[in-house]
Each structure stands twice: as structure tokens, then as C-alpha cells.
Symmetry: D2
Subunit: 163 residues, 4 copies
Amino acid sequence: MEKIIKKAYTESIENERKGDKEEEVEAIKRIILNAKKIIIATNNQKKFKVIGDILSHIVNAKIEMLNINTNYADLTRMPAVNKGLMAVDTEKADLIIARGRLGVPGSGSMLVIMDGKGRILSASLSPSSVLHKEDIEVRIKKELIDALKRIGIDIQPLYYKNE
Amino acid sequence: MEKIIKKAYTESIENERKGDKEEEVEAIKRIILNAKKIIIATNNQKKFKVIGDILSHIVNAKIEMLNINTNYADLTRMPAVNKGLMAVDTEKADLIIARGRLGVPGSGSMLVIMDGKGRILSASLSPSSVLHKEDIEVRIKKELIDALKRIGIDIQPLYYKNE
Amino acid sequence: MEKIIKKAYTESIENERKGDKEEEVEAIKRIILNAKKIIIATNNQKKFKVIGDILSHIVNAKIEMLNINTNYADLTRMPAVNKGLMAVDTEKADLIIARGRLGVPGSGSMLVIMDGKGRILSASLSPSSVLHKEDIEVRIKKELIDALKRIGIDIQPLYYKNE
Amino acid sequence: MEKIIKKAYTESIENERKGDKEEEVEAIKRIILNAKKIIIATNNQKKFKVIGDILSHIVNAKIEMLNINTNYADLTRMPAVNKGLMAVDTEKADLIIARGRLGVPGSGSMLVIMDGKGRILSASLSPSSVLHKEDIEVRIKKELIDALKRIGIDIQPLYYKNE
């Protein structure tokens, strides 16, 4: 990943950057699919189960819950991202999945997929729960499927086949 | 907004926070709909036009392009968010719309709506352009409509009525 | 400030930036010395008093304590900076003074001076308290004097004259 | 480091945190003194040499320059920190040293020591160059010595002995 980022940064510095490249998306997919240890930055058992179940269909990894309370990330400007960074800083892992508020109170939620250094690989968003009274487990499932799809991991057929 | 955020933070500190509230979503809508000056953090004339056209249907504001090159935000961990902060720091505005890469190269794009202090009000995401070969103007239009819809501003009927 | 930052950003984009300029330092001083409302991002009465006393020698401002618990900023990568942002997001103010840990546990402390949008104007650092067993009030006093001195506000003679 | 941070975070969550601990400072020192690969986030040969020379007195590591232009970090809110993150994201390293502007234009400079994940271990600050017309190499030398001293690595006697 480091080399790919360096190449992209060099293109940006030289004003030659023209958007994402296939090899970059492939590199992201590789990090996700080859992860050996994944931390889910939640201390909610149900949310953990939903995310863990989906991931176990596509990766052969040890999937663990972050055993510290991540709620205080709500006191930051980007709660979901900061939940992820709490996991990055307190765990050695290949992949981190965090879910929380996007921005200010009322701004709805974000699910974010980070690598072990806290680099953001993908994400997905949901409307504010006030507007979208869907069951939270259904919501999170959609969010994870959506975040993976954005970078070319189409989990839906695979996943539903197994249901 | 300050009072609403303080109230939400206090709830989080006391472990009594239970998710977004209607008054919070209303406060976000009010900031957006009452904006008098909006900066669009892009130096691309086409992108500016797409976003400006949609916004002019819902707000009575002075809408301006940020007249500095925002491309170097690609050298940061969250390019779209940092483009927005470039506008926050170089302009006085009520609202800022920025669009750029979500995270690492290959991670697709993000459109973000911030207030004048850089607080994130809403956002939306698109897949990596490698996977989604849609026209960029169509894409941006969808992103803005989507970002507004997440917090209860349904622009679609209004907007298409005018087409 | 917005104009000065824009000018500096434009120089950086054109690769013509050559370091801080006198007018930039002057602009920072002006923001500090003309502040009408200052928030001190601490909920510790003693720390508030030390900082408020010094500031009252140089500014004619309403100085208030942030009445929410900022301790949970310790769960972030840059606690002092995030304490300041908690104040930015929950208060309308011209100036914010925050003090907390610099980075990881053990990394010592930082006092940071921000404007009302969260832009960093100055700061100062202290060694880890483990190494530097000085009284915390003496320490904070030094930190504030030092942070002001860095940008040309020499408070020491003025301050000690008044003691 | 992960375990030590988790322990400190848990203390903060339980409101039992009482400031830095000796074992935390020791952990920081260990990361620095045992580093096998260090990246200096500058593309200035002179600055690299000053920093590299000092470090080579205390660590037995491969010390390299970041071979991308870090100047565009000046378009962010915390240029020095963002230079460091550019190195974190484009290199595999145990330690990263970055130097740049602290905050807004005019805010003086910061030298920051990060680990390979971007966690901040120590830092030091210099006044704005407008106010402090010292030679930049002398300045950087002082900054590095100061940043190390804050966390208990007293390089001065060792260093000058070797001159």
C-alpha cells in the first residue's frame, strides 16, 4: 500500500493525477480480503455479530471486538473516524471496522473501513436515525455491504447464497 | 448550533446519549436553508455549476467558487474533508461544499457539507470512478441530492419540477 | 485572517512560500489582543484561574470556563487539540485556550491557542509530568507566557510588573 | 505500545486517569531507541543531515529522507503533523521525524516525532522565524534535542562529547 500511495502522491504533486486507478482499488481489495486480524470498534455485542458474520463469508481472519467503550468518540468532530483510530491505537490489526456518527449531532451515521495504520479504505453512510427508522442491525448490514461494494467487493450474491 | 452540540456532548459524557434527535436534524437543516454565503471548494467550473444550480433551488445565498487550487488536499488522509477545511480557513461563509477523494487513493469520492467553522453537517459517497464509469456531473448531482436527503432536505421533486 | 491565509496558501501552491511573514504574526497578535470573548477549555477551577489572570493583563475580554468535562479528549490522538475543538464546537468565542496531553500517554502536555474556528495560532509544550515534578499552576503559567512569546506577545515584564 | 495506550484509555473512561506514568514514558523511549528504520519527512538535504547526525548518536537505525515533496502540507491546519502523516502513509518505518509550520501562517514551527502508525510520541516548538532570526540548522538541532529531552532522552552531554 505504501508504494501505491507514494505513486499517487507523486502524481498529485506533479499535477498529473486523474482519479482512482484500477491497481489502487485492487490494492484495497487485497488488504481487506487477506486480513488475518480484524477489529470491530464497537462494544455492542449485536453490532459486532452482524459485522462479524458478514466478514466471515469473505475473509479467513480472527475477528475481535474492541474491548473498550468507544462512546466518548461522540465528543469529537468525526465520531466514526475517531472510533476507528481508538482501535488503531490500542490494537495490532490488519483491518478495522468502526461505526458511529458522521459529524455533528444529527448528521447520521458512518461505517468506516480502515487499515492497521488508520488509513481509510472505504466507508458508507446512513441517514439520521430520526429520518430512517429502520432496525439497526438491518442498517449496519446494508452499510457494510455498501462499503465493500464501493471498492468492488460484491458480497451480496455470496452472502445471500449462504442464508 | 453551539447549544445543541453542547447538549449532545453533555448527554454523551453522562452516558445518556441515544442517537440523533429531531431538533438536531432540524438545526442542521436550518443552517443549510438559511445560509447567506456558500463556498464550493472546487476550482472546476463544471462541478461548481452543477452544485450551484441545485443549491440555488433551495437557498437564497451568494454562491461562490473557492479561487484556490484544492488538488493538493489529495496529499492528506481525508482529501474531501481537507478541501472543505481549506475553504473554512480562507473564507468567511455559512456553508461549505467540498468534493474529493474519501481516503486513500482508490477509495472513491466523498461530497461533504460543512458549516463555516468546519463542522460536518452531512455527506455522501460514490464508488471509485474505476468501478462506476458514470459521467462526473451526473454523479455529483446525485451526491448532493443524496447528502441533503440524509438530513431531511428532499430536493428531488422540487428540483426535477424545475427541469 | 482569511485573506492572509489565502495569500499564504496561494504562495505554497505556487512554490513561492518562504516562511512566516511579519504581517502574519501581526494578524495573530491582533486576534489575540482584540478578543472580546475567550473560552478556557478546562473544567478545573485552578487552571482556569491561572490562565484567566494572565490573560486579563493583556486583553479586555470576557473570559469563561468551558462548562463541560474535557477529560474524554484523552481518548484521541491529540488530546489538547481536541479539547480546543470541543470548545470551538460548543461555544461562540474569539479565542480558545486548551491544555492537555500532546499525543500518546506519556508524551507530556501541550497548551494550545486557537481562534473561534479552531485554527491554531500558537502553542507551547511541557515535558511529561513524570520527568518534571513542577507545580502544575507554575507550569501552566510558564506555558501560556511561552505560547504568547512565540508569536511576539511578551507578557513577562508586563505581568511581573503587576505582581 | 498498544497495551499501554489501552490501559491509559481505560483509566480515562473510568475517570481514574492521573497524568503520565513512568512506564508510558519508558515505552516511548524504547520505541525511539530501538527504531530500526527512521524516515525524516523533509526533502531538504541540509535539514536531513542535521537530524540524521543527531539521531545516529542514539539509535542504530537506517535513516532515510522522504523522497516526496512535503511542502503542500502547508495547505492544511497542522502542516508539521500532516508532513509526518505523509511519511506514515507512504513508508514502512518505526519512527518518523517531521518539521514544519505548527498551525496558521505566522504560527512558528513544530518538530514532531511519530511512530510508524502516526501516533505522536513527542514534539518541540520554535517561535516564528520572523521573531527568531536564528540559523535554521542550529534551530532544528535545538528542536530535536528538546523533543527528545521532553520524554527523558537527554542527548546533550552524549552529543557534545562526540563533537
